[in-house]
Each structure stands twice: as C-alpha cells, then as structure tokens.
Symmetry: C2
Subunit: 470 residues, 2 copies
C-alpha cells in the first residue's frame, strides 16, 4: 500500500514540473553580476513556495559583508522528541556558456525522450524541488513533518560557497541540527542504486621558477646556462615515481591503505572501466597496486593543471626561457591535512631546485579536506534503508573523486555529518551544455525522500549523539 | 709608413660617416612591407656609391619568384693572376621596435661619447661602408684593386636569407670565387683581437603530445588517467642526463671531442665568465667535462624554447590537460647532420612515449649545419696576418654559439669558405634598441680591410685550390 504522503506528492508531479520550468526560467547564474535579477527571481519563487507549504521563520541569511548571495532559511520544528535535520540545497546555477552548444535555449525547459533540458535543472533545481515537494506533502497530508526540518538553500555553491563558512559561524544556534541531508551531490551511474559516502578534498597553488634575469638567446647562451623549462619539467617529472606514486616525502602522511572490507565493497560494484574511459579516449593509468575505482575514491592525486613558459606563438624563436610557470592541484583523501600536504609538495620541489634557480609559490587556492560519512551514521543507515525499500536493492556505498566543500564546512564548523541524497545522475551534463534531468527521477526521488523522512522519524535522536559535537 | 691607400681612406672618414648617416636614414626594414621605399632608397644609395667608386657590371640579382628583395652585385676584376674574393654584406636592417626604448630616433644617427646610434648602423651598414671605402680607396689611389672582387650585398639577411640559396644557385658562374670575405658577422669582445672561425648550426621542431580526446575534470578522472603535462615534462626532463649531456641516442654522432690544441686555444682566451653571466643573472651550467666557452662553441645543445598546456589563465582550474605542446631547437656543431640529429631526438621522444599517448611532430624550422673555416685556409691566414699587423696582436681564434646561415649556404652551394671580417662588436645592441657603432671602429676597420686585401694579393690563387670545389 502506497504511503498516502507519497501518493499526494506523486499526484502533484505535474505541478512540480511546472514549478521547475518556472524556476529554471530564472537565470540564476551567481557568477555573472548581470544576472542578479535571475538570482532574486529564483529566491522569490523558492520563498513563495516555502510560505505556501507552511514553513516558518523564513529569513535570508546575509553574508557578513553583504557582498555575497544570501542563503534562504526556513524551518518546521513540529516533531518534538524527533531528530532535527538540516536540509541543504542551492538555487544558483552554472553559466550557460558556450551557448552555441545548446540544442535548445538553456533557460527554457524542453522535454525530449523523458528528459527535461535546462541549465541548473539537474544541478540542483530539480533535486531541490523534489525535497521541497516531499516535505510539503507531509505538511499537506499530516499537518506536520515527521521530523524537525531546517532548510538551508544557498546561492553560492557554483562559485565555491565563499560566504557559507561565515553564515554557518554566525547562525550556529539557528542551524543546530543532528545531521545534514543534502539535496545536492549527484548519484553516480543510472543503473546502480548507490549512496555517496565520501568525497576527496583539494588544495592547490601556482609556482614560478626562475633561472635568469631575462630571456636569453640560444645562440649567445645555448648550453652555458639553465633553461627554466628544462628545470620546471624536471621538477614536474619528479612529482610521481615510476609506479605512479607521488614522490613528495610526507604526502601520504595520515593516509591508510584501503581495508579488506573497502576493497571488497569496491570490487563488488558492477563497474566497467572501458565504459568510463572509452568515450574520453583515455587509457587507465595510475598508482600501482590499486584499481581504477580505488584510485578515484581512496587515493590522493597531484595534477599539473597548466604549465607554460618561453615562446608559445606561431613559428620558432630561439629563446632560452628564464622563467616557467605551473598550476598544481591535489585531491586529498581522509587522514590528509591540506596544509601539511601542500607543504610537503613545496618542500619536495624546493629540495630539487638547482643552485641559482628560485621558486616562488603564488596563487594558493582555498584548501578543503576530504570527507567521509562514518559507516554507522544513523542518517546514512536511514538513507540506505530508504533506498533499499523504494528500489528493492540494497544500495552500494560509493564515493566521488571530486570535492564537495559543503560537507567539509558543516563538519568543521557545525560538527555535522552529511548524507548526499540528490536524485541527479552524474551523466546529466551539469556544468556543460544540454544539462538535463530525467523525468523518471522525480517519482524515484519523491518516494525516497518520503521514505527517508519516515526512517529518520523512527530513529531515537540519541542515535545521533555519538556523531554530534558536545 | 702608412699605406697610401689607407691614408686616402682615413682622409675620407668624415665623408664615410656622412654616407653612413644618409644610409641609416633609409629605414630598410625588410620584414615590414610598409618600408619598401626604405629598402629601395638603401639600394639606390649603395648602387650610386659603387658606380662612383668604379665598380662594373653592376646588377640586381632578383630572387627567382621576384617576391623577395634583390641582392646587389658588382665586380672589379682587374687583377689577373690574383685571387678572387666574393665580398658579402647586407643592406636590410632589423625592425626598430620597441620604439619607446630608443633614446634618440632610430633612423636619425646621433653621436654620443664616440658612439654613433642608429638602427642597422652596426648590423651591417657601418661595417659594409668600411669595406666599400677600403675598396674605393684602392681604385682611387692605384687605379685598380689588388685582387679580383665580386660584391654580393643582399637584402634578406635579417629575415633568414630565404632567397639567397636560389640566387646562389642561379648565379653560380657569376659568383665564382676563391673564398668569401664577409663584412657581416660581429667581432666578440671589444678588448680582444679575435677572428670568428666557426658558428653552430641549428634545427628545430614543435611537438604535440596527446593523452586523451578531451580535457578532463580532476574530480572525475584524477588519478585514473594520464596527464599530458606530466608526460610532456617526463619527456623533456629525459632529454638531458644528470651530467647535462643530451640523452637521445645518436645525437652526438659525428661530434668529435675538442682536441688538445682547441682546448688550449680556448683556455688561453682572457674570458671572464662572470662578466658574461653576471649581467643576465644566470649561473654557469652545462655539459659536465667542458667549460663555458667549450660548451658555447664546440658542443651542441638542445633547448625547449616554449612549452604550454592546460589552463594558463588567472586563478585555478582543476583540469587534467589532454594535450601539451613544446617547441624545441638545437644548436649543432661540425660533424652533425641536422636531419640525423632531429631524427635522433624524435626517436628518443617516441621511445619514451607511454602506451595510449600520441606524439605529433609539427612546425619544423629550416635546418642548417654548423660551419667552421678550415684551420689553414689562405683567407683565414690573410685575415689573421692583417689583424696582427694592424693591431700589433695575434688574433685569437674564437667561435660563435649562434648560427650564420650564409656561411653554410655558400659552402653547400658554391663550395666556398667564409671569413667573417666585420668591425661591429657584439655589445653594440644589434637587434635591440639603441644600436650603435663605435666611431673608432671605422679607422680600425679601414686599416684591416686595406691590409687583408694586400695579404690576399700576396697569395697565389693556387693556395685556395685545396679549399675550393673541383
């Protein structure tokens, strides 16, 4: 027998799609100041929806210096004695460029073959409206939510959430909860029932290597002085050893080898490496002793993202470059401290620097540690049970190789763990032209959200105590 | 007692400077089509001067397709039984950019502290007029030249002499001579009496390394695929071994180690490495077992002149680049075949290419072998004797690390050896703002040119036979 709350929600699917079309029509590109009205329109639509659903204490959480995008807060705390979840989503979207690669206009939703196309529809407007619709259905059918809910819908996710730490710090009391349930953070493969249980951190910086005061002519100086590009190449080539392991001493400090259980969990995943690497024309390559998924989820990386020096124009110029540049970023795994890792790489580079050359470290990007949900976390258990019940399949535990700063920020600032419960799928072209959202994900998502809220309601708030601060 | 021809020439120094000022005022920048009139004006002035001096059979040698700049030819063959020299110079100059770095207008000669400033005055209008004045003085005083002279004054030296091989081929009979005496090819240090006896060759190409069909996101692919910049760095780092020796097998084929005599000649040169490297802020570095001058003159090099890939804009982008580019050039020494050397480097790179990566060779530049005047060449002996007599010091034999395509072209096409007998000095800012020519070099040069012509006149043409074709 179908849950009456789910029945209600499913009966409103067409209205949800209408609301989604209207929300996508607001070009809420936070990175583009020219689209400020689109941001405001998106906020207004969401706020109206929250008011209509019966949320309370709705307010905008302004970034401390008021220069960023406000987050929307609302709550419904009518389940005394039940756990409190902070539900996260974001209303900003990626820029639509390159526009000429879109088959249909990015801010006008078009449906083709069961797919709804539009910028931000999969990341994260569709998944956000699924969560809000499930919550609204509870209030409509039962007059209350089964658990206490605090909503936090931010507007800077696509620009790295620069204001979020400040907002979390300032509204620590308001945002107090037992755990975070995120409507953002895509599922992986369409045909795999899975839960994301971890993400890698990141850190990065730029280096400038100098070998002389000016570019030199190879006829006058060739063979008698150092060439900055040779030295830079030597440094970059030294970062990995022949086995693909990162050679900087201390880089792996704190990293533990995958446990037998982790390796078995991963090897049990029906994953076809060729279907992942074939389309991008790349061959599998990485640290010896690990397979592709272990490398992607459990092992840290160090990549040069850009490198340049000397003459790069048309034709030939016989210059000996006196400086060379490289941008480096790392992906980090649990146990690694971003600053320690960065220091280790810099120390390695400096140790190999030849006499007379100088190395300058510039352009550090914001660093962020890896994140993993503790294995026995009650919200993770609830999520797993909900998916098992609504899909008939026990979800696999998967990770992502990318970085979700939110997870690390709420853990660090509020002490809270996050479970990703988005119904976007990783093939839905987010951050790319022709972003789409599967219409079938709406029903799947509504069922799962109704179910997880019931599962959490069945939990004793004390279950969360071991995972919370204080 | 001063040679009456030299006395006559020295008496005309003021007229020579006037002519030089007038010639520099023609902006003969061959690279700039907008300066075609400057080129024509320079040609006209030179032709008028040759006619006035009494040269004969004057003509323009047009490039085969008439798209290039004509060379000026003239001759005076009134020394039967004497050697015939092909005297080389060029009337084109480098562009004057950057104009804002000039202290005085580039095409208006200004004299300061014994230095005449102007574009092309040192390279090569001053040295050319010295040669023409010495020749004119012979005709004026003695009614004839002491040796047979064929003049070849080209207009494409600064753009790589692209038409010269065709002109040499087409006018093989007209240009028949015993040797080439060049008014181009600067002296080295102002305080060192020296003769350039060799120059390095060059070759070069561009490479493109590809590891995947597209750039990849390090969150989704970091650690599981190759990074084109890592592979490119590894290739570039592999080009030299730890001792600074080029590691490509076959690269040194044909290269002989410096003889004891060559090393002694070099070690006898009063050369202060610090005075060369200090101003450019570089440290001495190169192939182990050789000192700086040996590296610069006698050893081949391989330099990366430019390298790029991935994201090179502002800020950070977590991309795994799928392609990387590098421009490479080599300086070659006698014994090396440019094509063989280039093939050796490419084979080395291809041998180290990992599976799944591809390497494309593009943008080959024109290659040119090294050149060295044979040690006992009669024109070299005459030049050495002339400098010894006019300076009181036996000249050192020096080389240059750069490439002079003319020397290789006339050797290859006409079978002739070249002696560089310019009176420019290497510190005179040619190819740079504030180019200048030392006024004192005029008298030095006139004396040396009058003297060398007498020394050659004292030679039996048979002395040249072993060094000539057929």
């Amino acid at each position: 027998m179908t849950d009456p709350v789910l029945s209600h929600a499913l009966a409103h699917e067409a209205a949800l799609v209408d609301a989604l079309i209207k929300l996508v029509a607001c070009p809420s590109v936070g990175a583009d100041p020219a689209m400020a009205q689109g941001m405001e329109d998106a906020r207004s639509q969401i706020e109206a929806r929250l008011d209509m659903a019966g949320f309370r204490n709705r307010q905008r959480l302004q970034p401390g210096d008021h220069s960023g995008q406000p987050a929307i807060y609302a709550e419904r705390l009518d389940a005394p004695g039940k756990p409190t979840l902070l539900v996260y989503a974001h209303y900003d979207v990626q820029p639509a460029d390159p526009l000429d690669k879109w088959q249909t206009p990015p801010f006008t939703v078009t449906e083709r073959d069961g797919r709804l196309f539009g910028r931000g529809i999969s990341d994260d407007k569709g998944p956000m409206l699924i969560a809000l619709e499930a919550l609204s259905a509870f209030i409509a059918v039962e007059g209350a939510l089964p658990v206490n809910i605090k909503l936090l819908i931010e507007g800077e996710e696509e620009t790295g959430s620069p204001s979020l730490p400040g907002i979390l710090e300032e509204h620590r009391a308001l945002l107090k909860a037992d755990a975070v349930l995120s409507a953002d953070g895509a599922r992986w493969l369409p045909d795999l029932v899975a839960l994301n249980v971890g993400s890698r951190g990141n850190a990065g910086f730029e280096i400038r290597l100098q070998t002389a005061g000016q570019d030199l002519h190879s006829g006058r100086y060739g063979g008698i002085v150092r060439n900055a590009l040779h030295e830079m190449s030597r440094l970059i080539a030294s970062l990995h050893d022949a086995s693909g392991r990162i050679a900087a001493p201390g880089f792996y400090d704190g990293v533990t080898d995958p446990s037998t259980a982790e390796r078995e969990e991963i090897s049990g995943i029906p994953f076809d490496e060729n279907s992942m690497l074939g389309p991008i024309g790349g061959a599998a390559h990485g640290e010896a002793g690990f397979n592709t998924l272990e490398r992607l989820w459990l092992r840290p990386t160090l990549d040069v993202n850009g490198m340049w020096g000397g003459y790069t124009g048309a034709g030939s110029k016989t210059v000996i470059p006196n400086e060379a540049f490289a941008k480096l970023t790392m992906r980090l795994v649990p146990g690694q401290d971003p600053q320690h890792v960065q220091d280790a790489v810099i120390a390695h580079l400096e140790a190999l620097l030849p006499e007379g050359a100088t190395l300058e470290i510039t352009g550090e990007r914001g660093a962020c540690g890896a994140y993993a949900v503790p294995g026995g976390h009650p919200l993770l258990c609830a999520a797993s049970d909900a998916l098992a019940q609504t899909t008939g399949t026990t979800p696999r535990k998967v990770r992502i190789g990318a970085t979700l700063p939110l997870t690390e920020m709420v853990k660090r600032i509020l002490g809270l763990d996050t479970v990703m419960f988005s119904f976007a799928l990783s093939d839905e072209n987010f951050h790319a032209p022709n972003e789409f959202f599967r219409r079938s994900s709406i029903a799947d998502g509504l069922a799962a959200w109704v179910c997880i809220l019931r599962k959490v309601a069945a939990r004793d708030p004390a279950d969360f105590v071991p995972y919370r601060p204080e």
